[in-house]
Structures are given as C-alpha cells and as structure tokens.
Symmetry: D2
Subunit: 452 residues, 4 copies
C-alpha cells in the first residue's frame, strides 16, 4: 500500500513572478482559458497559489506599494483544472462539482500576510469616504495564530480559506455578466444620485486587456486580444462562485459549484489566512500565498436537481456550501449594531449595506477608545474573525445589521465597565499602521479605470 | 437568608386583553409615557409580556386573523421601568444602562407560538412580491424544542430572545426620528424609481393615534392625543434599541442601552421563541407571550465614554450587546449564497439587501425540493436558527450574502448527494401551511395605511 | 387546538415535608413500590421533586445541618411512574425506555441550592482524608447563573440535570445487587489493606428499614418491613440508571433505560443545578429542588437488541445516553493532571481513581493560591462545570486523569503568568465557607452505619 | 523585515532509521542525556519526530510486525532541547517552562498512521483479557480527516497532539521514580491477588539497557551502560509530563512543565493524529511521524509559585495545561456508562478503572451490532475523538464512568431507534481488521520482559 500523498497539480515557485510559473496563472474568467491540470474524482490533490497581488505587496513598513498597486492584474488564479470521473468522463454542463477542502494553509517558508486599504481613487474600500488613504498592516503567523507589529495587542487563530474558488463560465453566462455589469457601469451614476451608498468607488470592472493574463494563451496574440476583451474580471463573486470571500470555507468545508463547461475548469486563488465578514477594507483579509488540498465529486445533473433558479435563465444560480467541523471556538462576543440611517443622519429604506456600514463605524469608534487609531481598527475588523449579520431586514424603514467581535482576540478586556478609568482621547499604543502621504484633497473625479 | 426570587414588576394575566392588564401596556415610544415600575440596580426582576399582537393571532388552522390584523396596534410593550442605583439616584441621560438577561421563556401555560406572513397590502414581508398572501404556521413547544403541525419534519431548540428591548427616547431624539422617517415616506418613491428593492411595502410608519396605547395615559384625553401624534411607532429598531430582532440576545446576554431620559424608562416586548437572522417573513419569528428576568447596572456617563457617535449629533448612537455562553450548538451547516443581482437578472451595486434576498430565495428553492411548499420554507427560514451573513461587501459590483442553515433541524438529510433518487416536482408532504383565499390580483396601489 | 402544556404527574408542595406530599415519595429501589402516576409515550409530562435531603439542609450560614444529617433517608425520589404505549400496553421487561429531557429547572420560588461535604464519620467525600469536616456553601440563582456568598468571585451558568433517573429493578436484579454489595461490605476491608483508595468511607450501604420511605406502602406495616429489608439504597448508580450523576444530562438529552418490570416504573430525583465531573465532595453538586419535563418512547425488545451484555447474566447492562445540543459554551480551559501515584508518593497500578484524586488535589492546591481556602475550592470543583477525563489508562504503571476547569467562571485571570506579583500565602478573600466545629481528632473507627 | 519561518531544530529524514538521524534520538528519561538543540524564549521552532516505533510498524495488511515488535525501544523521542531566556540565561530548576503548540501535523509525504493492539504476552492493552491477539488498522489522511480501509464507514477530523512532551528529570526525581516503580513491580502481584484489574499486563517497566538509545551518548560505552541502567522508561506519564496521552493538547494548547535540570531539556515524540480518551488499545492512538511548532516562555520560580505539591517532596508535582480554541466541533454524542462492577459481576469499591472498562466494553458490544467486529470497535474507540469521563466517584460502592462518542464519525445513524430492522448477528462489513495467527492458548505466565 502506498500512502496517498496529495499530488501537486499546480505548483508555485515563490522565487518566480506570477508569469514565470511552470503552469501559467490567469486573472480572468473565460471558457477558453485552457486547463493546466487534470484530476479524477476521489483523488486528493494539491493546488498552490500566489497571493492575489502576485507578490506586488511586500513585507515592509510602507504602504507605497498599496498606493500605487495596479488593480488591473487582480487576482492571479491557479488553474483551470479539468475534472473527470473514475471512468474518465468529464464533468459536463449541468453537473454539480462538489469540492471538499481537505486541508489548506500558507505556503511553507512564506508564513506572513498583509491587510490593506486602497486609496480612494484606486479602488477604496467599504468606508473609503472615512478612510481615503492607502494603509497596510503586516501579519506574521505563529502556526495557527496571526499577530501584527502594526496592530499590537491582538492575536487570533486563523479561519483560513480561499477567497476565490470557481468554475469557468460558459460563453452564454459570460455574455450575461458583461451585459448586466456594463449596464450598472453606464447607468449607475444616475441611480446613485438618489440611492448612492459608496459613491466614490468603481461601479464595475469591465473586461480589458490591460494587465490581463490568460494562462497558456500567449500575451499579444490575436486569441489573447479577443479573449481578453471578453473575459470577466475576477473582482466580484458571481454564478460560478469566484470571489465569494466567505470566511468559513475552511478545512472540511464542501463547495458545490455549478458546471458550465466540459471539465468544469476549476480555478482558485486569493488565499486568506483570516477574514472578517464583509472584508470591509477591500484588500481586507490577511492576504497570503497558500495551498489547497481538494477532493472532488461530480453530481451528474445536479444543477437541475438542486439549483433550479428563481430567475430569468437556467444559468441564474449560485453555489451551495457546507461548513466544516473545525473552526476556532469563541465563547464571548461583543456585538455592535447598525441601522439603515447613515452617518449623516439620513434615513434609508431597509438597506442592509447602510446598516452594516453603521455597525462597522460604531465598532471602529468604540474600539478606538482602547488605545488604537481608527485606521488600525478598520484594518483589524477586515481581517479578524468577526461576524457580520443581517439581524432584521423587514422592520421598515430600518434594516438592522450587527457586527460581533470575539473578545478573546484582545489582550485587554474591551467590554464596557462601570467605574473604569474614564476613557477619552488616548495615545495610540504604537503609531505604526503605515500610510503613505496623502495631501488631504479629496479626489474631484472618481477614477473609472481604478478597479479592485 | 432569603432566596432572591425575582420580583415580578410587570405581571401579565393571559385571560385579559392587553388594555385590561393590571399595569397598562403601551405600543409607542415617547418620553412622557409614565413608568409603571421601579427597579434598583443589582436586583433580578421579572417582566412578563403578551405576544406582539396582544392575542389577536390564534392557535388555529386559518390565516384569516393574520390577513385582517390591524397593524396599528403593533407591538404591545411592557414598561416603562424606571431604573435607579443603590442610593436611589435615577439613571440619567448620558448614562449607559446595562441589562443582563438572566432568564427568559414562554409564560407558563402558554407554550405555543406562531410564524406568519402578512398580505402584501397589509405589510407584506421581505419576499412579498413572491409571497403576497397571508400565511400562518403554529408552533408547539416541548421544553426547549419547537415543532409545527404545519411544517412537519423539522424540530429545533429555541434561541429565545425579546424582539424588542429599549429605553425611552428624549424629545430631541424623537423629533429626529420623525423628521427622517417622514422624509423617506414622502420622498422615498422618487428614489425607489431607480433603486427600489421591496417596492410594495410601507416605507415608514409615521406617528398616528390610530390603535395607539400609551400606558397610564388615558385614551381620548388631550394628553393622549398630543403624545399619540408625536410618539414613534415600534416597528423599526432605532438609537434606543427597540425592535432590533437580534436572535442571539438570549439567556446570559447583556444589552448596553443609551439613556435619554431620567430613569431610562426601559420597555420590552415581542418575545420570540426562535428567529432566523433577518426575520424574513416579517411576522417571522416564533411569536409568543413570555417573561424576561433582568438585572441592571448603570454605567454613569457611559454614552460619552463608550458610544461617541460618528454622526451629526451626540444622540446618533446604537446599543452594544454581549452574547451569552448558552446557545444551541450545531456542527453542520448548509450555506446558500446570494449576490446583488436580483431575480430578474438585474445588477445592483454592492447591495447587501438584494444579495440576502437572493440567498433566501435560493434556499427556499432548494429546500422545497425535499417535499415542502415554498411557503412552508419561507416561514421556516424566518423562525429557525439560521444565520444571515454579509460575506463580502466590497467586491464591486456584487455584494455577497449567505444564509447558513443547521442541517440537524430536519429529520432527513438535506445535503446534495450524487446518485440520490432524482429530485423533481414532489408532493408537499402535508399541504398544511394555511393561507386565506387570495384572488391573485396584485394590488394596484400600495396601501400607505398598512404599516407594521 | 389546545396548546400541549405539560401535565404535572408528580406535584411537590414546598411547604410540606417529603412524607406529607400528595403523592408519597420513596427513597429505595424495589419492584413492589407501587406506581403513583401513569403516562403515555409521546406525552410531555412534568415531574417535580424535592432536593435529595427533603429540605433537611437549610439556606443559612452554618454547616451543622450537614454535620448531623441522617444519611439513611437519602435520596427522596418522585415516582414510580408507569409508562404505556399509545394502545395502552405497558412497557415490558426487555424493552428500552427512551426518556427525553425536554426541560428542567429549579422549582419556581425556590431558586437556591447548596454544596456540602459530610463529616468523615458521616459519609465523607472523595478527599475525606484531607477534608474531614462538614462544610457547606449556599448558591443563589440569577436565571441561568449561580453565585455563592461563600465562594466569592465565581459565577457560572448551570448545566442542570437530575442526579438520579432510573427504572425499578426486578427481584432477580435486586438480589444480584444485594449479594455483590454485601460481599464488598463484608470482605472489602481485607482487600482494602492492600489497595485501599479512600479508606475511611463506607464501602456499601446495605438495605435497612431505618429512614426508609416506600411511597404508598405505609410505614410500619409488614409489607413495609419486608420490602425495606430488601430494597436497595439509592446511593450508587447501577444497571437501572439511578444515581449516575452524569453532569451533561441536561435539556435535550435522551436517556435509554432498560426495563425490568411491567410499566418500567420510572423514578427521578436529586436535581442538580450544576455539577463537576465526579461530584467530588459527595454532596457536591448544587443540590436543589426542581422539575423535569419528560417525553417517553418505548423501544420494544430494545434491551436485547441494543444492550446484549458482556457479563454473566442478561441483566448485566447499563443505560445509554444522548447528550443534548444546548450546553454552556466555554472556549478556554485550564487543565490539571494527576497520575496514579498517591499523595504519599506511593505507586499504584493504572488506578484511575488515584490519578483523578491527584488531579483534583493539584487543582485545589493551585487555585487556593488565588485567594481561596482549600475548602472553598474543594466545594467549587464539586459543583462547577469542570470536566474529569481519563486521559491514559494503559501506560503502566501510571493512569493519567485530567481535570479541566473553564477559566471564564472566575472574575480574575487564573492562568500561570511570568512576572505576576509573587503568589504565596494570601488571605482568604472571605473566610465564609462555613464549617461546624471539629475537635481535630480523626475518628478511630470508621462508622459503618454512616452512609450516603 | 523577514518573516519568522520556524527554525527546524530537530530535523527527521524519513528514509533513515531512528539511530541514523542527524540529531540522534533517545528513548529514555535521564538528566545526563545531552541536549541536541538550543532555543530562546519567544522563538517559534520546529521539532520533527519519527513515530513511536521508529518505523517498525508498516503500512500493510498484516499485524505480524505488531505481534513481534520489540517493546524495549519504545518511544523514540526528539530532543533534549535546552531553553534559555532572551538574555541567554538557561531555564533553571524550580522554573516553569510554558510551551505553546503553535502548529503540528504529520510529516509531509508521510500522511498515514496506524492503531494497534499488542499480544497479551507482549504488552496487551486495557482489554487484553478480552482481546489477547495483536491487531492493526491502517489510517490514511485526507487533510484534516482520517479514514481506514480496515474500519470502513467511519471518517473523522484529527485532534492531533503529541503523546509525549516532557522535561528531563533530576537525579533525585529519577531515583524516586525507580524506587516506587520497583516497589509495584516486586510487590504488585501480592496486592493484585485482591484488587487486580488488568492482571496479565506488565506492572512496570524498570530501567534496562536493552533497546536503549541515549542520543549523543554512544551505545556500548561505560557512560551508556551506567545511564541506561538508571534511565526511566518512557511508557508512563510522570511528574515531568512525558507520556500523558492527553488528546486535547492540540494546536493552540499551552503546556506548563516543571523544570528539574538546567536548560529544562525538553523532549517530545509519539505524535498522534487522533486519540480517544484512555487510548484503550494501548498502541491505540493513530500513531504517526510528525512535527511540532513550539514557542516557549520561562516562568521564573513558577514551580514553587504555582505547583506547591500536596505530597512528600517538592518534586511531587504534575504539569498544567491550557487547551486551545481550535478543536473539531461535534454536537451530538452517544454516551455509554460503566459502573465499578466488573464483567464477571463482581463489585469493586469506587474503582474508576473498572467503571471505565465496563463503559468501553458496553460501547464495543453496542457498536458491534452495526456491522463491525468487536476488534474493529476496540481499535476505533482507541483512536477516534471519544471522551472518557469520570462522572461519579463518590457514590459507594459504584464509581460511574462514561464514554461519549460523537455520532457524526459514522456514515450510518448509530442511535437506538424503535422499529428499526431487528439487529442481531450481522456480517462484519469487511473482515479486514487484520490479526496475525494466534493459537488460542492463553499464555501461562505473564512475560515480565514484555513492556512497552
């Protein structure tokens, strides 16, 4: 008997650039990006991946790399991987691909990550109007724990997960995506006049050959040009899974993905050591390189069987997930609430995004009383294992959202207490969340090229 | 030594109507509703409460009572309760009132509840366009468990909590509420042209003497008339807490409420045996009568200390909560995802409400394949201990929301499986979620009187 | 429809003595104790019970009542309850009785309990050689929480459970019990010369009419005399369940009991608000009066089907349990270890009792450094939700047992820390664990009459 | 900044024998075994280790290797590791060494393990009188999960931990060990006449040069001879930690070890992918090679401060542990009970070992009704994450022990059910727990050389 060590189907050499890897990476969704590996159902295989930026963001004390990062290359994915059953028959459109995450983690020798916010004109984040500048915090890993020299006094176990896992779209589905996103990009401003939430952020990121990598398809060729102009950006999550950023997809989880093309063409990337619900600062998880060990099953005809959509086409579906049995266990949570009245005092109608924004702002304000700058807390709430819940979505006009923070991640007691020494303006414990210089002038126009 | 049996400060006699109770109930928020009880910090006291409808909804097989329910009386609250410290000094504006939930439950002899959806023209629910008719399911309790003759095959332990707990607003705060809600009521339609989410539901519920109860203030008096025309409805959660519908506020939780008037004037009601995040069907928890055993502390000056708001006034705050250590423990969850593309295929910009709607619709569709009608699942997801999360709120243009359902509440395995007997149109196991007759014509005008 | 409020099949009037209750209690196991109530499978019914001592131990500051308690009356049980199926056919010998605990708690108006140790000559406890005197601590309940004026600085949620639940033995089984316990009582001393563990405690408690209550059978009659001389004491757990003291049998648990007589004749009592594994101080749980809400099923022929014994007769079985989904949730535990080397330094061979004794002694010693007397900690470890594990039972000659204590029950950080203020002899925070005077002379002879 | 990749202080080359490793291993406890590595407090370092048998047990279908295994070489340990503080001052006798387990796992490329029982005359196990033959089951790992071709139908996530972690004893402590273990070895038989539990197993394993490895001390030298004749075997856990087999010492745990010699001289080995409480089959965890990533602190003077012993000398102490926040989460447990009446029907006095034996026998009997052989279940209960509790240790004469088994590890529902198809003698699903041939004659004399 031979022990079934996972076969490495996509290896990563950390000394090489994303475009120099043995099996070339890609950063777009398109049915014609050729598979780089094949796996069989039942086999445990290993996929390695660079961090979403492909090494553009460094382990140092400056946020300059974040400020000037080119968002057009986001995110470098490993794959596509073609999946077949025990008889060698490929996964087919209409099937469900069940991928179990047997294990995952950082790449050995690369046990660190970062959390960042982009500049307002370069992609921003959930609270970009409050925090318009690029910032960055570095995290080091001690086994299951992460700690940051830039946010002292916190340490937590990672609920590690891939930010992106998805199957390739069919051409029909890709056309649907491009059409609906073009519509919001073109007409969004008008509507945003009235119901804007996050007015200065990019509305969508339409296909573009700028920064485009398509795996085995050589840059500059006619094929590359054609596909690059059609292929969807990887920023949003969509029907194929993709950038769902679901923080609980950790060890032992199972992901049921719809299959749109022969072989399923599974891709994955954007590994997160940890993330808070919402990933609020945008580049907000603890971003890192990493590996996944996966085992696949094919549920023949499963899309029709399990995913019949409530929508205009049969493609109008979303993946299903099973959460695994191994998660960090916290027993005490401090919970912040937000309602859909924005920070200017304006009433919105059952808007969960506004309510969640208020919950996050309330938490930032509160926690900054314990010796932190607001920027530190904004980064922390992006990446620590906090839970963002939609508590009430029906009590007109206020949606209620909550943000629950495990108290054990702090080395001090952060609960409200009678008779504690009066809190007030305190010194930031260490002024070391770094930001590059910012002149203080808010940008006058939103930069439509700025994306991720 | 005498054992400290909780003092009943607000008793309920289930044989009497809400307006006949020894200590009169109220269903509005206003600083001038007189306290009916006084408590000291450190004392464990008991507050009893009717169900939110005050007994209007019955334990029977017809949804007629739901269809014709008068929403103007919603919700009957117990209180206000005036809180003072050990020296007899009242809680004061600017303090924080910390209320610990030592225990809670149904009123003895009244161990049942209901989950319902209102008719579209009578308040509707989160999915009112899909489910426009009044429906009702009855739940019976076996100790910690609830089961329903109308939704067979499920049983779950209750995460029991008060839907409403809050302090009285000051006049200044009340004016802010009324102004901003009037604004959305009056101007909402224009904005909703472009970014409507739930177009046929009431936008706000402005003050009105119709159905108004103000505790000790006698109906029909000039004082009652004046206050009734100012007092806020209890439907939405606001700065004072109120109808937050946070499903985890169960035994052992602690609620930090801002104090706006002398004595804090704490009120509570709308007890839920169990609720899912979002309470999607609106009357969607397992609604019941019940009791709370509370213990209060006053954190002097705590509002300024802990709640300095990011907003236009010092009143622009929200409560904080601590979740307790005793919750039902589930180890396996099936998770449905939604993105901010609505069910017509239209793209919305980072709209968590749309994403959550899609997640709920996806779950309803999926679970209806296991022998349930969609109405049954809609009611079930309103009241079972499912978790609604904001997973991604930054990846333009798609917000990602998830709905996680504990698999153990079903008596069958609801996970997707290869090689299972083909699913397809199945008979509803028992056609017993009840609805009253509905003629199928969608209402041509939204009924602005319909509230709750 | 009528809500199914649990029928009270055994009521308790707290103002009356155990022998004055409407349905007479019993404190022995015997097949001929007549049932006092009948229930059907599927019905949720309520059983009320006095505390194990029947009110002999009081809510005061003196341990005199404990010191002079008559152990012959232990424990007062409610029942027997006869169980039949939906067709009115009784549970029969060879069936399994599945009893689900739907709910439980203290009796309303009696929300307090006590933890005690008996005098060495009156029953002692696990550590009686170290703690030979009677002590007592009173606990008050604030809903789910208990706190004690005698052990300040700790507070914990109760994992409430019945200490005793069991079916009546058949005459054949009763004879087996009496024979084997007589054997240990008579010949135990010889063996204890060599392998004694707890040398000064009673070895067994053989049948005796002293203090005997047999329910409906009148005291002093010939029948009473005969049965009293045969009936088993309730101290130990046995094949019928009985005094198992399994701390996790709380809300939602299911107990599968073998049926030895027609009707099963279920009895229960000895309610515990909370208990640590092992109940080390003997009268060591938080003892209280209380109620159980139960629902029964009969598994016909289940004994043979599920319990085929590895032993000399078909009666040589033990119950099975399912633990429920609602337990207090702790995330941090401090764990003490013991090995089977006793406190005199002597090596024992794979003796888990000795190992556990050492683990408990180690924990007592450690925790007493945080401002407590050893007596306080001994009582605390008896009743707080600590876990006693058999970690290793094979590594000759040392068994390894562990005692895990949730750190959150203390209001101080009890973990070892570098650079903390040196610990050493500290003042007991409050010298208020009460004990009655004790002259310091160890008893020269074990009192064989002393039991429970 | 450089990411702090853990330094490998003890590397293992899996292609080499234990005695060929770069840093020589040892399999005894002695103060004079020279350190092979040095670490500083605060540094995260990696220790690799062979499996306890040093590769003697193979991944195949025969238990012959188990039957003829030489127990004298047990267990190969990595270390000793000398620990110093940031100023280079060594840990000193009287200090506490706090070692945090930051991470651990199997060695890459070696993702398998085994569970076995030894022959009765070669070490046996907890139930050796019932299961006298050598058996073996192989386990393969799929990331966090283990499954076995020899025990089909079960799969569970590992609660991975080192079976052995300990500091070197001082000469004084070593002498205490040798004396007390010699005493039990020499006089044990007499006492076992009366209170034997596991009569045919070795009583102790006294020092012997047979199979002895002492790290850098060359075999055959006078020094080796002297130390080998003094050095303690590694089988039992003792005051220095050692073979505690505490199954919860997984990621995030912290171990507080007493320091007896300069530098502490920490050693570790015997990695377990998973283990049940008690490790009942003796070679009963899922044994494997592996790695630990540790971080140490020194608590100066901590032994006196935190461990003041209740015993004859200051050395009479035991380690303390903190359990980490990441454990597999199970919500449903089936619990088997045992009382201290042995399987022959004989009554023992409060003997937790006997009670636990009965609980395990009850579980084996029960689970074998679901298509397994008793040998398969015996192996399974040794290694799956089951919990062994001391539930009652005071209710004379019966100790009550419980064994709780998470139901989710089985692919079938193992709970008792009314109306299920009658259970009875079933075919073992696959007759593939392997055992070597055994002639059926029980050994006439216990083999005193057999140890492990």
């Amino acid at each position: 008997m031979a022990p079934p060590t996972p076969r490495v189907v996509v290896p990563i050499d950390l000394k090489k650039k994303p475009w120099e890897q043995l099996l070339p990476l890609h950063n777009r969704w398109h049915p014609e990006i050729p598979p780089v590996a094949h796996v069989k159902v039942g086999e445990v295989f290993r996929v390695e991946m660079v961090d979403f930026s492909g090494g553009a963001i460094k382990d140092d004390d400056s946020a300059t790399d974040v400020k000037f990062m080119d968002p057009s290359t986001t995110h470098y994915l490993s794959g596509p991987i073609r999946v077949e059953d025990k008889d060698g028959i490929l996964a087919m459109p209409g099937d469900l691909l069940a991928a179990e995450i047997c294990n995952l983690g950082p790449l050995p020798g690369d046990e660190w990550g970062y959390t960042a916010t982009f500049d307002r004109e370069n992609g921003g984040g959930f609270l970009t109007d409050h925090f318009p500048c690029a910032t960055k915090a570095i995290w080091y890993f001690e086994g299951i724990y992460a700690y940051s020299p830039h946010i002292p006094g916190v340490r937590f176990p990672g609920l590690t997960h891939p930010g992106i896992i998805g199957t390739a779209p069919s051409m029909e589905l890709l056309n649907i995506w491009n059409q609906r996103e073009k519509e919001v990009e073109e007409n969004g401003h008008k509507s945003l006049k009235l119901c804007e939430v996050l007015h200065s952020r990019p509305l969508a990121n339409l296909p573009s050959t700028k920064g485009c990598y398509l795996g085995k398809i050589k840059k500059g060729t006619a094929e590359w040009e054609k596909i690059g102009n059609e292929a969807a950006r990887t920023i949003p999550g969509r029907e194929n899974g993709g950038n769902c950023d679901i923080k609980n997809l950790s060890r032992g989880s199972k992901i049921y993905l719809p299959v749109f093309v022969e072989g399923a063409n599974l891709s994955t990337g954007d590994m997160h050591f940890s993330q808070g619900d919402g990933e609020v600062s945008f580049c907000g998880a603890i971003e890192m390189s990493g590996f996944l060990e996966l085992k696949c099953e094919i549920i023949r005809g499963g899309m029709k069987e399990y995913l019949t959509p409530m929508g205009p086409t049969l493609l109008h579906v979303n993946p299903i997930f099973e959460i695994g049995p191994v998660e960090p266990r916290f027993s005490e949570w401090l919970v912040f609430e937000g309602i859909s009245v924005d920070e200017s005092g304006r009433q919105h109608f059952l808007d969960a995004s506004v309510a969640y924004k208020r919950a996050v702002l309330n938490a930032i304000d509160y926690l900054s009383k314990f010796g932190y700058s607001k920027e530190q807390i904004y980064l922390l709430l992006s990446c620590c294992p906090c839970e963002g819940r939609i508590s009430g979505i029906v009590d007109s006009p206020n949606a209620v959202a909550t943000l629950a923070i495990p108290t054990a991640i702090f080395d001090q007691d952060i609960r409200p207490k009678a008779g504690k020494v009066p809190v007030g303006p305190r010194l930031v414990r260490k002024p070391d969340v770094l930001r590059c210089s910012y002149d203080g002038n808010l940008p006058t126009t939103r930069n439509p090229a700025a994306s991720m």
